[in-house]
Symmetry: C2
Subunit: 329 residues, 2 copies
């Protein structure tokens, strides 16, 4: 690039007081308005953070070294940056912004770092866990729209730990996926499967995120839960989880995922249910209805929320592809 | 940890509007007031960034994947996170906060990602570059205090690229350090050495930081410069660089390091100088005085700046180890 072609003010003698505006200017040369806006907000907050803390060189270097470690421990199956985002409350926040839910629908929860893309596809009635130490349970669910009509043909990802609180991918000698599956809802919106009763477990805390939690005197535990993810064209992608009532970590989830509406009770299968689903009488039973929202309604709600929130902040924006950019007109 | 022992409000049903205060509370259980304050500011800015951009799940995931890549390309000799901090203006800002300079002293500049800890120690008159393609130069410097008195026995790190614009550590077949050295100032505060005339060069742009620059339509170039770092007990650590006047990238340095007071002119050695320093007449010559500030004066200035800046922001603080924490008294 010929420096003569640059259309920016001279970047020289930058100080605590003018570095931000200059960085914003040099980052604003492209035509992608959304990228320009996101970078402007990022740089402003990053610099304000340093200015308001009077961040020292030693702290800055410690933070960069921490981030290097977070990156280097990450693998295809260990997403330490997702974990970091989770414990900082960012994951919950982004989900809440991007997937607003009308009161009549199922709320979202955090994705967490353990979702994978290669689980076995199973049919109604199959088991998704092979752990003989786990307490067997039967899970019977229906997917509905907000008017109570069943939604068929939804792709459902389900994942949970084994009875020791570990996901399959946490075992280095893993042969094949376990404790996870993909299902499709039938014409009545139903999907049902056999699993094990979830247990509380600590998020991986042998890495940098664990060290940070320890420094902050925070425990790494998550209350017992089972993850669910729902996908169907025309319906808003729903990432959620069901939490077992009265878990000791119900009110101190390390990743802020618990919502009252997602706390469920396990009952036991009576004789009729046991016979119908081919399990032993007395087997732990979880019955739940999930309510999806159309993509159209979610987009409308997201747009309304965005415009309202930014107006309240005094930021004049317009939406491009449902995402705000400054309205300079 | 027994969840019964926790002294925090129930972390449940967290929303766009209450996730921040709750994350701050759970992060405030330790006794390290500085850590609590830094985390409070970090979480507040991180969440405000997401709220003000209405960050989408897709953008969030792209950002996390970007950070993973920044961590994974990093090695002992490739500090991609420093590079990221550099191009975002954060490095310059932190240096300006942590190393305030009175007007009579030498200004600081960015450390950059290429400083190493094992350069050869050389004596006055030695050469620190073996590149036969480089244009030889003689560098004669004095280190002074603000009253003009020489400072002896200062440890000086010096590093520059070769004539192709690459630091030694960028060569995978590097046998021993080149283009870098450590010196000591003599009793007259003088150090002098042979080097090559610096050339402009692009920062490493074959990784994620380079991709970001490209997205932002920014060039990766730095104007020609030579790095210097000064250390002596009782004196503020000075990280700086000297920039060659009229470099094509003088006003658009990719990492914002240039300051008017650090731009220098190369002259040529006359017969007397050539004889004195054992170089050929006409050899390029750089003469420069560096002025250090005492640690005591820097600390005083840093404290004053911090209290003044935070007062202006309406944040009531006290200083612990010269770093601000909220003053709750």
């Amino acid at each position: 690039m010929d420096p003569e072609d640059l259309n920016i003010p001279p970047m020289k003698d930058l100080t605590i007081d003018n570095i931000t505006e200059n960085t914003v200017v040099i980052n604003s040369q492209g035509s992608d308005q959304r990228l320009t806006y996101v970078m402007e907000r990022l740089v402003s907050h990053l610099h304000d953070f340093a200015r308001e803390t009077r961040l020292s060189t030693t702290e800055w270097m410690a933070a960069l070294n921490f981030l290097v470690k977070v990156g280097q421990i990450s693998t295809d199956v260990r997403h330490e940056f997702i974990l970091l985002s989770d414990i900082l409350g960012l994951s919950l926040l982004v989900d809440a912004i991007d997937h607003p839910k009308p009161p009549t629908s199922t709320e979202g929860s955090v994705l967490g770092p353990f979702h994978t893309h290669d689980p076995p596809v199973i049919d109604n009635g199959s088991s998704m866990s092979s752990d003989p130490e786990g307490e067997p349970c039967l899970v019977v669910c229906t997917i509905l729209d907000q008017s109570g009509k069943p939604i068929s043909d939804v792709k459902i990802d389900i994942w949970e730990t084994d009875s020791t609180g570990h996901y399959d991918v946490q075992y280095s000698d893993l042969q094949s996926p376990d404790g996870r599956c993909v299902m499709k809802s039938d014409e009545k919106g139903v999907f049902w499967f056999k699993a094990i009763v979830p247990v509380p477990y600590p998020i991986p805390h042998d890495g940098p995120v664990g060290q940070l939690l320890k420094l902050l005197k925070r425990h790494p535990w998550r209350p017992a839960h089972m993850h669910f993810m729902f996908e169907k064209k025309g319906w808003d992608h729903l990432i959620t989880a069901l939490y077992m009532r009265n878990d000791p970590y119900e009110t101190s989830d390390a990743v802020f995922g618990v919502k009252q509406s997602l706390i469920v009770d396990f009952t036991t299968a009576d004789a009729e249910t046991a016979k119908k689903y081919g399990v032993q009488e007395g087997t732990k039973l979880l019955k739940h209805d999930f309510v999806l929202v159309s993509e159209e309604e979610t987009e409308k709600l997201r747009d309304e929320n965005a415009l309202k929130a930014l107006k309240a902040l005094g930021i004049k924006v317009k939406l491009i592809d449902h995402l705000p950019v400054p309205d300079l007109d």
